[in-house]
């Protein structure tokens, strides 16, 4: 693929940051093909920006000379690439079978009440985005959820309240 064949676009690219470029360059050493680096670059940009905006995607497209349509194709395929802004912390709430058996629906309702958002929503203060996630592989300690990188197990309403209070006080 060459720069020649990158789609014309109304959206303009933003500048990638030095940190982003450095990490993307590092990935180039790990994969023999640009396309693979493209997906890594989406994750890198998301790590730094919280999500992947149109401008970010254009930037990656330009930098790696991958058509933006190809990036969009993979970005929208995977669960963990966010093409919309998310809160400071993403709650990945397991709603798969073991957690369901162990009462995760009640926990979901509790979070909904507590934060005022259901799956897909971001709290008004921008602190949390609440998303469902398939089985987190901690089924023996169900129900479970992740907040940011941290895993929380054997959830109860009280535990959940404590978790949110802790995160908010940490800021």
């Amino acid at each position: 693929m060459s720069a020649d064949l990158i789609a014309s676009s109304a959206t303009k690219a933003r500048q990638l940051t030095d940190a982003e470029i450095k990490e993307i360059e590092h990935e180039m050493e790990l994969y023999p093909d640009k396309q693979a680096v493209g997906l890594e670059a989406l994750k890198i940009v998301q790590k730094h920006q919280g999500w992947v905006s149109d401008e970010s995607m254009q930037a990656i497209s330009k930098y790696l000379e991958i058509p933006v349509a190809d990036l969009e194709s993979v970005a929208t395929f995977f669960n963990l690439v966010y093409r919309q802004p998310v809160g400071k912390k993403v709650i990945l709430f397991c709603n798969s079978v073991s957690c369901w058996i162990m009462g995760c629906d009640d926990m979901r309702a509790h979070i909904n009440e507590k934060l005022g958002v259901d799956f897909g929503g971001t709290t008004e203060d921008g602190d949390f985005t609440f998303l469902p996630v398939p089985c987190l592989g901690d089924c023996d300690r169900a129900p479970v959820m992740m907040v940011g990188d941290d895993l929380h197990r054997n959830l109860t309403a009280e535990k959940i309240d404590q978790i949110f209070t802790d995160y908010r006080s940490k800021e």
Partner: protein
């Protein structure tokens, strides 16, 4: 050949193919969606399920997807098995879950593969009663409509657009049942082949936008087999007319030429035919005004263009017949070439090479077989687009070879791609500017045309030292030479568009060097710009150049001129055309649309368009093809040959016969004519389908009586639904239709085998015989005067005179531009988008700063003849000019090697 048993009957099949393809080849009905005859199998839709049995004793069998199962010797399968049928019914039911069922208002209705397959699979009662998934549609530009709710997720669109045609701005997005096919954001689909989505999509997601605005059911279109007049490839098309207007063009299968696909110029470039600007009546000059010629004076006026002092100027966009009729009228010696002098010289060279035994002019299908290619100077995507698409297939031969080594059948499309990744057969592109094939090029050399020719000569010399020597960048030369020499089927491409005869000479030398070392005829593809450049040039004496015609007029040695469908201002410097026409006593111009030349005419006669007459054209290979009349011209226009022939009536068949008899090299022309005796009970072939509806209602606002169907005494086709549709014996197939197969997929019913020749036999006639043995050519050297070297650039949407008059195409056209290297722009002090003056003589163009330009070289795109191209030399002086009137600008330009800083 392998024997397989299908539902108890033994068939001989090709074991290299899959079962679906072989079932279809046998004429059996087996539904499918994601499989495509020339894109192979991916196994996504699961529609082609059949039962396969291990052996004769196996009573249970196993469901398999026919498209994913090789047709191996001894296979036993059943299409009719109840479980297989049930599976196919289930699949259709699933596909229809979220389909809007909007067939009555869908442009695809009546020729929808989804409709056909739904019927065929037996799903008729809707059980799904939950919520449907809906999607947003995108604006995709002037050509294509997007209605995603109709999507059945067969993946054909992206497989064609991206994998087959190399597009980069359409992709599949999201997952599970939200899967979406579109661009990353709204905008014009960039691929020059986007129109094929209309035919590739098995339902109405991608539809022809212009057609949508006044769509007509397939069975209500009057159609006839036609040939695209957009370029020298001569793709076969089926134009469709209704109520006197030409509504659309679709691909018409020709196994040797275009196969299943045409380009967007060919598909969308026709609506000038319906234009109000058409010349409708014979006109004659009265001072500065043109007046309608009174009925009684027409013949005397025409007659005044007979006899001595009259010369004729031919046309590369007119048929053989019209050119031949003009030649007959004015006589050989007074019949002049209708193309620019340099192009004439180049074309005569191409013709001489076409008689040379050392070479073969490859068809599009043969181009796809090449496994090492060098392109010298031609921007194929913009001058012969279908060939560019073929080259995208040729570079995949490496992948197929690798696959064979791993025992992966070539129809396993995804598997072959996954195996080969970016491994491609070599394609070396020598060009003066970035082309749309660069992404698949193994070598890309950007230089001035003369330098490229020199490099070509060096490649030839590297292959055989008997070829004249030349020097250049050693490494690339050696690599390209080696790739060609080692290939199974090397291919050399050049042509006359690049405007440098040295490129053709170099190409011939490369091919000759290969011939010399290998002993076989080498594929040498020499393209020319227009539909009948070759045919016209075969009719003209090589010394009868346009320049000499203009001289004759200017000097007074000829006093009158007949100009056949030609705007001379595109062919020669405006000054010399003016001088010639101003001097001429009378100028008779026959054309379809007003031009700068008709503006100078003393008499203008309206000519019919490609869809309004029967005609033959000769493509770049020397392949003559017959194009039928689709509909009548309701004004006074006549085919040019009719205006020019003695008795104005006459019929086309006798003219073709005469041309075959009298014109050198045309002797096979009359083989194109289907004889009436071939037809059932002598009946004609209807242009309208036998389901053409509402004949009595058509003009009900005027009169409810059925109008008498016009009689076509010229052709074997009828302007009605009466007659016998094309059968196996009739070499005429307009729209393909077969019982249960209303969509274009019905073509399989007319093929000898899938992807094979049509049973109708239709591939045209190669006119030129190869008896000569030539020798190496001296490659013309360039001169460097220190000025900016000129290369000519083309645009698929704009460079062709007639399609540029089509309103659909005009949406995609740009103004004239000068492509320039960043450094040169800087030293001239011009920015991207600013106006520059060429040679300070009033020609202006917009500066387009491109990163892939050689410093010291510019590429000039002349727009719709906005620049007096033939007044330009091999080099040019540029200067910044006051910003001229921008009509279209260059924003719509898809070259994409725009220089970064220029953009910002």
């Amino acid at each position: 050949m392998a024997k397989v048993v299908i539902d108890g009957i033994e068939y001989e099949v090709n074991p290299d193919n899959n079962l679906l393809q072989e079932c279809l080849s046998q004429g059996l009905d087996l539904p499918y969606f994601c499989w495509h005859p020339c894109m192979g199998s991916v196994g996504a839709c699961r529609q082609c399920a059949v039962k396969q049995y291990r052996d004769a004793d196996d009573k249970d069998g196993m469901l398999v997807m026919a498209c994913m199962t090789p047709a191996t010797e001894g296979s036993i399968i059943s299409i009719e098995d109840p479980q297989a049928k049930d599976m196919r019914e289930r699949v259709i039911e699933s596909l229809m879950i979220s389909h809007p069922h909007d067939c009555p208002v869908c442009e695809e209705g009546g020729e929808c593969h989804l409709q056909d397959m739904t019927q065929m699979s037996g799903h008729n009662y809707r059980r799904y009663d939950k919520k449907k998934v809906t999607h947003r549609n995108q604006y995709l530009g002037p050509f294509i409509n997007h209605e995603m709710n109709r999507c059945i997720t067969c993946y054909r669109c992206v497989r064609f657009y991206d994998d087959y045609a190399g597009g980069t701005d359409l992709s599949v997005q999201a997952a599970h049942h939200h899967t979406y096919f579109g661009r990353h954001e709204e905008g014009v689909l960039e691929s020059e082949f986007s129109g094929n989505l209309v035919e590739v999509c098995p339902t109405g997601v991608f539809t022809d936008k212009a057609f949508s605005e006044h769509y007509t059911r397939k069975w209500d279109l009057q159609v006839a087999p036609s040939v695209c007049t957009g370029c020298s490839v001569g793709c076969n098309t089926t134009p469709g007319e209704r109520y006197g207007s030409l509504r659309r063009i679709v691909n018409r299968y020709n196994s040797e030429v275009n196969g299943y696909f045409i380009c967007d110029r060919g598909r969308f470039g026709f609506d000038y035919v319906n234009s109000d600007d058409r010349i409708k009546v014979p006109l004659t000059r009265n001072g500065s005004e043109m007046e309608v010629v009174p009925a009684g004076e027409l013949q005397p006026t025409i007659n005044s263009f007979k006899g001595s002092g009259v010369i004729g100027i031919a046309s590369p966009r007119a048929s053989n017949e019209s050119n031949f009729a003009l030649r007959c009228l004015v006589g050989d010696e007074n019949f002049y070439s209708g193309i620019a002098d340099e192009e004439h010289e180049a074309t005569q060279l191409i013709l001489s090479l076409a008689r040379d035994k050392a070479f073969n002019a490859p068809s599009v299908r043969e181009i796809e077989l090449a496994d090492a290619v060098v392109v010298l100077g031609e921007d194929l995507t913009n001058v012969a687009p279908r060939i560019a698409l073929a080259l995208r297939q040729s570079v995949r031969n490496k992948a197929k070879e690798l696959a064979e080594g791993c025992h992966i059948p070539s129809w396993q499309d995804a598997a072959v791609r996954e195996l080969a990744q970016h491994d491609r057969s070599p394609l070396a592109i020598l060009s003066s500017y970035a082309t749309r094939l660069d992404d698949i090029a193994s070598d890309l050399v950007i230089d001035a045309p003369a330098q490229l020719a020199n490099m070509g000569a060096a490649i030839a010399n590297k292959i055989s030292d008997k070829a004249p020597s030349a020097s250049g960048e050693e490494e690339a030369i050696a690599r390209i030479a080696e790739q060609l020499a080692n290939a199974k089927r090397p291919l050399v491409i050049a042509g006359s568009s690049a405007g440098n005869i040295g490129l053709i000479q170099a190409a011939a030398n490369i091919a000759r060097a290969l011939h010399e070392t290998r002993g076989e005829a080498i594929d040498l593809c020499l393209v020319v710009p227009e539909v009948n450049t070759i045919g016209m040039s075969m009719l003209v004496n090589s010394s009868n150049t346009l320049g000499s015609a203009l001289d004759k007029l200017q000097s007074g040695s000829a006093s009158k001129v007949i100009v056949l469908e030609n705007d001379l201002y595109r062919r020669a410097a405006h000054k010399s055309v003016d001088a010639a026409l101003d001097k001429a006593k009378a100028a008779l111009v026959i054309d379809q649309m007003p031009t700068a030349t008709t503006a100078k005419a003393s008499t203008i006669l309206p000519g019919t368009s490609f869809s309004e007459h029967e005609a033959t054209y000769v493509n770049y290979e020397g392949r003559a093809q017959l194009s039928f009349q689709v509909h009548r011209n309701h004004a006074a226009a006549l085919p040019a040959w009719r205006w020019l022939s003695e008795q104005q009536r006459g019929d086309i068949d006798s003219l073709i016969n005469r041309c075959a008899e009298e014109a050198a090299n045309f002797d096979k022309l009359d083989d194109l004519l289907p004889g009436l005796n071939e037809f059932v009970a002598g009946m004609k072939i209807p242009r309208q389908s036998h389901r053409y509806s509402g004949r009595t209602a058509m003009k009900a606002n005027l009169n409810v009586h059925e109008p008498k169907q016009p009689v076509d005494d010229q052709s074997i086709l009828a302007f009605s639904m009466e007659g016998v549709p094309a059968t196996k014996d009739a070499s005429v197939l307009g729209a393909a239709w077969a019982p249960a197969w209303n969509s274009n997929q019905s073509i399989s019913k007319f093929q000898e085998e899938i992807n094979g020749e049509l049973k109708q036999g239709h591939t045209g006639e190669l006119l030129i015989e190869r008896n000569d043995s030539g020798s190496y050519l001296e490659v013309a050297a360039g001169s460097d005067d220190g000025q900016l070297q000129v290369a000519i650039a083309y645009q698929i949407f704009g460079s062709d005179e007639l399609s540029a008059k089509s309103s659909t195409i005009q949406h995609r056209m740009t103004d004239a531009y000068v492509a320039i290297a960043p450094a040169d722009a800087k030293s001239l002090g011009v920015d991207h988008g600013e106006t520059v003056s060429l040679d300070g003589n009033g020609n202006v163009a917009i500066a387009c700063i491109r990163s892939k330009m050689k410093e010291g070289t510019v590429a000039i795109y002349c727009g719709d003849n906005e620049i007096d191209r033939h007044a330009l030399g091999d080099s040019v002086a540029l200067s910044k000019a006051a910003n001229a009137n921008v009509r279209r600008g260059i924003q719509g330009l898809i070259v994409s090697d725009l220089f970064e800083e220029a953009q910002a």
